[in-house]
């Protein structure tokens, strides 16, 4: 009913809800969350255990197939899938505490570590705390551009951003390194907001993790294949690369397609629960696709539901999205979703557009409005 209250007059995709509407909106989402929490049980446990098992089978198959040189592409495919499952559907979600209720130390957010350079312990701080708390608040959420890229009009343009597309390409190829070094907040050190010595406590964990990952993928497993050492090494590197590219793309489609809103720090002062949900919704975007695609994306294809309910098991997101969309329709709120190709194109063009200074005079607010409607 209130949906008719005025998409037309919107200048940006931020529909303005009254405080009262925001409160009810928050209550509806809270109710959804409570319902799923009360329903968690055997099926969720069986699901994640099954994914864990499949991941292991893929890893073992991948590692074993390196003994058969003609099967090299298959080996790389299996190992890539194993790493993707580990990082996305298992690692990311387990470390969000989605399965803590199971009481299984192997699936517990405090204990899990994933198959990538970044120590889970450090990622949990920058991701679960900084990014999920301050989602898309400029100057607070360090995931906006990861301290390297310009991803928003409100980030002032500087000449170095001419390299935006190149930086993005490099970040994609070396994504696991980007994630690992993210916590050192180099951009804040350059800006004088952080001291080098603040990073000291992070080094031992970081070095240990990088050393262990390197020994495993680039020394031990290749060595175990004897004369095939170089092939196996190349295969492991390729699998890590494939995972990097995949994870980067899924993650960038989650927050940077056109129409996704950013927020100023003032807008979020003394934020209510309702506004928090509102910000999470407008700051995220989904990708449509089949079941396997959702699993391989760690259900981050449901980035909106993930940001609304970060600690609910991700396998619940597809069902939740139906209800979230229904709620959004009633409140006249944008629900940003689209095919992978559409979201990717949108992100890529934004990366290129942001490389150049703004052309405010010519376009005014037009592109934003278009984006909002297109979404």
């Amino acid at each position: 009913m209130n949906a008719t209250t005025k998409t037309k007059t919107m200048k940006t995709n931020k529909t303005n809800l009254t405080d009262e509407q925001l409160e009810r909106f928050g209550e509806e989402l809270d109710a959804l969350r409570q319902r799923v929490l009360a329903d968690l049980g055997e099926e969720d446990a069986a699901y994640i255990r099954n994914v864990v098992k499949r991941r292991q089978q893929l890893e073992i198959a991948g590692r074993a197939l390196f003994y058969l040189p003609p099967a090299w592409p298959l080996a790389v495919a299996a190992l890539s899938l194993s790493k993707i499952l580990d990082n996305m559907e298992i690692g990311h979600n387990v470390m969000h505490g989605q399965y803590d209720w199971m009481g299984d130390p192997g699936l517990n957010s405090r204990m899990y570590d994933w198959d990538t350079m970044c120590p889970g312990e450090q990622w949990k701080y920058s991701h679960n705390y900084i990014h999920h708390t301050y989602t898309n608040i400029l100057g607070k959420d360090r995931d906006i551009g990861y301290g390297i890229l310009r991803m928003d009009e409100d980030q002032p343009w500087r000449p170095q951003y001419l390299g935006n597309p190149v930086y993005a390409l490099l970040l994609m190829l070396f994504f696991e390194w980007g994630v690992a070094l993210h916590d050192l907040e180099v951009e804040n050190i350059v800006a004088g907001k952080r001291k080098m010595s603040d990073n000291k406590p992070l080094y031992p964990g970081l070095i240990r993790k990088i050393r262990n990952q390197t020994i495993k993928d680039y020394l031990l497993f290749p060595a175990l294949t004897g004369p095939l050492f170089p092939l196996t090494l190349a295969g492991n590197a390729t699998a890590n690369l494939v995972r990097n590219v995949w994870a980067f793309n899924i993650i960038f489609c989650g927050h940077f397609p056109a129409g996704v809103a950013t927020f100023s720090q003032e807008e979020c002062e003394d934020e209510t629960r309702g506004h928090w949900y509102y910000r999470q919704l407008l700051g995220s975007a989904n990708i449509t696709g089949g079941r396997l695609f959702h699993v391989l994306s760690g259900n981050l294809s449901h980035q909106i539901e993930h940001h609304l309910f970060p600690d609910l098991p991700a396998r619940r997101y597809p069902d939740l999205s139906v209800e979230v969309q229904e709620i959004c329709r009633r409140y006249g709120l944008q629900y940003n979703t689209g095919r992978l190709s559409k979201q990717l194109f949108s992100v890529a063009s934004k990366i290129c557009r942001m490389a150049l200074p703004d052309r405010k005079a010519e376009d005014g607010d037009a592109p934003v409005t278009q984006d909002a409607l297109a979404a």
């Binding site: 968690l40 049980g41 055997e42 969720d44 446990a45 069986a46 864990v52 098992k53 292991q56 073992i60 209720w101 199971m102 009481g103 299984d104 192997g106 570590d113 994933w114 198959d115 889970g120 993790k209 262990n212 990952q213 020994i215 495993k216 031990l220 497993f221």
Partner: protein
């Protein structure tokens, strides 16, 4: 004891490096749940009802076949036992091993009463079937017999507190202890007697083991210094192991008057050990505040309707650990006080002394 070659390899640094970061146990358990390099698990091989009085919670003995990682136990020790109720929520409680000393990989038993609202004990006694897997810690606890057993030992137990002393008694029999043993047990009625048959046999066979099964609710004498003195003259100097409900243990302690010959084991924190009620307790996550009752923080939180995570409720498993933001707490088991500014505390055994702020 023997050379455990597969175990040595599986626990090697090379295997750890290859299985990084998950760890080799994650892989082994997929192949066979009884395979482990570090963790301890067990398969239930038998569940036998010990006591089944209509209208009362049944007691059962569960026989467990542990993985080869089980390092064995000393009579009197306990183990943390975790079960997955409905295949999902692992819940862990502490139970004493009731069988005699075990060595690496040996089968052992636990004996428990199915508490009316109990999650783990009811599952194990009433619902689990042989074949079910459970998760274990290694054996823990220092309520044990010394290597050189004294000439005369006295065991005093009540209700399900019989388990550690039963394990000791069984071990002594196996070690063919030549000295004198006095075994004193309190139960509600003869029908409630755990291990009744075995104790009956022990009594009849003699071997210097003096068994007394008492049922005060049916007119038998209560535990008192006079009764103990009659049973075991000079009992205060006889090495004694006592385990049972808190009120019984309090009575035993009073009767022994600080004698170093007495060792006790509690299944629950002694009720008289809290602090005096003063100040207020604040639970920050829940946003609740209430006058301090002097009970352990876990109980105070539960009384306010919160349900913090817990396992043993006896300071053993650390599953109830929470951050204390301010205030002083007293450990109800040791009496130790701690007032560090911010510290992790076990709320099940920490009672506030005055104002206290906890992240719960």
């Amino acid at each position: 004891m023997g050379l455990d070659l597969p175990g040595t390899i599986l626990r090697s640094r090379a295997v750890a490096a290859l299985a990084f970061p998950q760890g080799i146990d994650r892989y082994l358990e997929q192949v066979n749940p009884m395979w482990a390099a570090h963790e301890v698990r067990a398969r239930i091989v038998d569940i036998r009802r010990e006591v089944d009085v209509p209208g009362h919670p049944p007691v059962a003995t569960i026989t467990l076949q542990p993985t080869s990682t089980w390092r064995g136990h000393r009579a009197g020790q306990h183990v943390q036992l975790g079960v997955e109720v409905d295949g999902a929520r692992r819940t862990t409680r502490v139970f004493t091993i009731s069988s005699p000393d075990s060595r690496q990989g040996d089968r052992f038993t636990v004996t428990m009463r199915a508490n009316p609202g109990g999650v783990v004990s009811r599952f194990l006694v009433e619902r689990a079937a042989p074949g079910t897997m459970v998760h274990l810690s290694q054996a823990q606890g220092d309520f044990v017999l010394p290597d050189r057993v004294p000439e005369h030992v006295l065991f005093i137990s009540g209700g399900s507190g019989i388990t550690p002393v039963m394990s000791m008694l069984r071990s002594l029999q196996r070690r063919t202890h030549r000295g004198q043993v006095t075994f004193l047990h309190y139960a509600q009625s003869p029908e409630h007697q755990i291990f009744a048959e075995e104790l009956d046999e022990v009594r009849r066979s003699g071997h210097g083991i003096d068994v007394h099964l008492l049922h005060p609710e049916q007119g038998d004498p209560n535990l008192s210094p006079a009764y103990l003195e009659r049973l075991v003259p000079g009992y205060r100097d006889v090495p004694t192991w006592a385990c049972g409900p808190a009120p019984m243990i309090e009575a035993v302690r009073a009767a022994y008057d600080e004698s170093p010959a007495l060792r006790v084991e509690y299944f629950q924190p002694p009720r008289t050990s809290g602090t005096s009620a003063a100040g207020d307790v604040a639970f920050t996550k829940a946003g609740l505040e209430a006058p301090n009752t002097g009970a352990p923080l876990l109980e105070q939180a539960e009384a306010l309707g919160l349900s913090p995570e817990f396992g043993c409720r006896m300071g053993i498993c650390f599953s109830c650990t929470a951050l204390k933001k301010a205030g002083t707490v007293k450990n109800v088991l040791t009496g130790e006080e701690s007032s560090s500014a911010e510290e992790e505390i076990r709320v099940c055994v920490s009672a506030p002394v005055g104002d206290c702020v906890v992240e719960l």
